[in-house]
């Protein structure tokens, strides 16, 4: 009975499971990224590699989520339906949100490997958009997802989404560290212009 149902809707179930896995993995990746990007955790350089591995796993899950829909005999979408926004007639808005979020996640995630060409500062600014793509994916899963009302899905999502939300809020509402560093830089050339008499006590304090 169960095997027959699974065989009949294999691609559909695979797509839903991959979408769920993509949502959970991307939420974890956002959590880890905010943890080491926001200097919440110090002395753990491996978090960067964990963030990278989770992001790559998310991309793979996203591709499986989309491609497996092509084999679904009930919806039977075309390649354009699952890759081009506003083409699919099935829940067009949420489908479009999901497609845009998916493409954005793939592009922003893989842009890490060409960040030298993009430029470090520009890439860092660009990488912040990933949070928006993640939020769009979250909206897609709860707006269109078949399991959006299921308890297991809500609980599993809440476990990883709530910490990511909190970290995102703390990161954006908290004090930003790069701005004071930039303001301190122009003050440097002024320091040598100070009189020697004022500089001496400072040297003594440092020596102590």
């Amino acid at each position: 009975m169960l095997a027959a149902a699974v065989t009949e809707h294999l691609f559909w179930i695979v797509s839903r499971a991959a979408g769920t896995a993509a949502l959970l993995l991307s939420s974890l990746a956002v959590c880890v990224g905010l943890l080491f990007g926001g200097k919440f955790v110090k002395g753990r350089p491996d978090l960067r590699h964990l963030h990278e591995a989770l992001s790559l796993a998310t991309i793979v899950a996203l591709v499986v989520h989309a491609v497996s829909l092509l084999g679904d005999s009930f919806m039977h979408p075309s390649l354009a339906d699952i890759t081009v926004p506003f083409v699919s007639g099935y829940m067009r808005l949420w489908m479009t949100v999901g497609i845009v979020a998916g493409w954005a996640m793939i592009a922003l995630g893989l842009s890490y490997y060409v960040r030298d060409r993009i430029g470090q500062q520009r890439w860092k600014k660009l990488h912040r958009v990933t949070a928006l793509a993640w939020l769009a994916g979250l909206a897609h899963s709860f707006g269109e997802g078949t399991d959006a009302g299921a308890t297991w899905f809500i609980v599993a999502t809440a476990i990883v989404v709530v910490p990511a939300f909190l970290l995102l809020i703390v990161r954006h509402l908290g004090p930003s560290s790069p701005q004071p560093a930039r303001q301190a830089k122009p003050a440097r050339p002024v320091a040598p212009a100070r009189p020697v008499a004022q500089a001496r006590p400072v040297r003594q304090e440092v020596a102590r």
Partner: protein, 182 residues
């Protein structure tokens, strides 16, 4: 390197408490040059990252398998939509078969328990579905047909069309059948 503490005067004067003398060290441990030490650290770091990547892959696969299992057990159409599909399927089967009176009656009573209160025939069925006037007509047709037959064989052509359109329209026919029987 930077995380190590800077040597103080006290630490320079006294030997470290837990450091063994050089003679007690095992002879198999060679003295590493800084370059070899750096390479060993790099190798250890690469192995650590490799282990972490394997764990992430394993966790991803476990998440996928877990989600797949839960979805397969929960039902391929989800919790709410599977109930709807069952309702539609039973309504369609009742409309198309039309011969099994017992199964039809049990299905309808299980799906819509509110129809038991509809003892007014056509008037009550219009209260159930006010938007569709065709369903009222079909239900009245079913009522006349069932009164002629004396049984609940409501599988006429109109019944099949109404059941395929919506579940509420198919539920009107059993209520009228019950009324005619009573």
């Amino acid at each position: 390197m930077l995380s190590e503490r800077a040597p103080t005067v006290l630490s320079m004067s006294e030997p470290p408490p837990f450091e063994r003398p050089r003679a007690d060290r095992p002879s198999s441990e060679p003295t590493l040059s800084p370059k070899e030490l750096a390479q060993a650290k790099l190798r250890a770091r690469a192995a650590r990252i490799g282990r972490m990547r394997k764990r992430v892959i394993a966790a991803s696969l476990a998440t996928f398998v877990l989600a797949f299992s839960v979805i397969a057990i929960d039902g391929p159409m989800g919790a709410t939509s599977s109930a709807t599909s069952q309702t539609t399927a039973s309504a369609t089967s009742s409309g198309t078969s039309g011969t099994s009176a017992d199964s039809t009656g049990s299905d309808q009573s299980s799906i819509l328990g509110d129809d038991s209160s509809s003892s007014d025939g056509t008037t009550s069925s219009s209260g159930n579905s006010t938007s569709s006037s065709e369903n009222q007509t079909s239900s009245s047709d079913d009522q006349t047909t069932s009164s002629d037959d004396g049984s609940s064989s409501s599988g006429s052509g109109s019944g099949s069309t109404s059941s395929s359109s919506s579940a509420s329209s198919s539920s009107s026919s059993p209520s009228t059948v019950t009324t005619s029987q009573s």
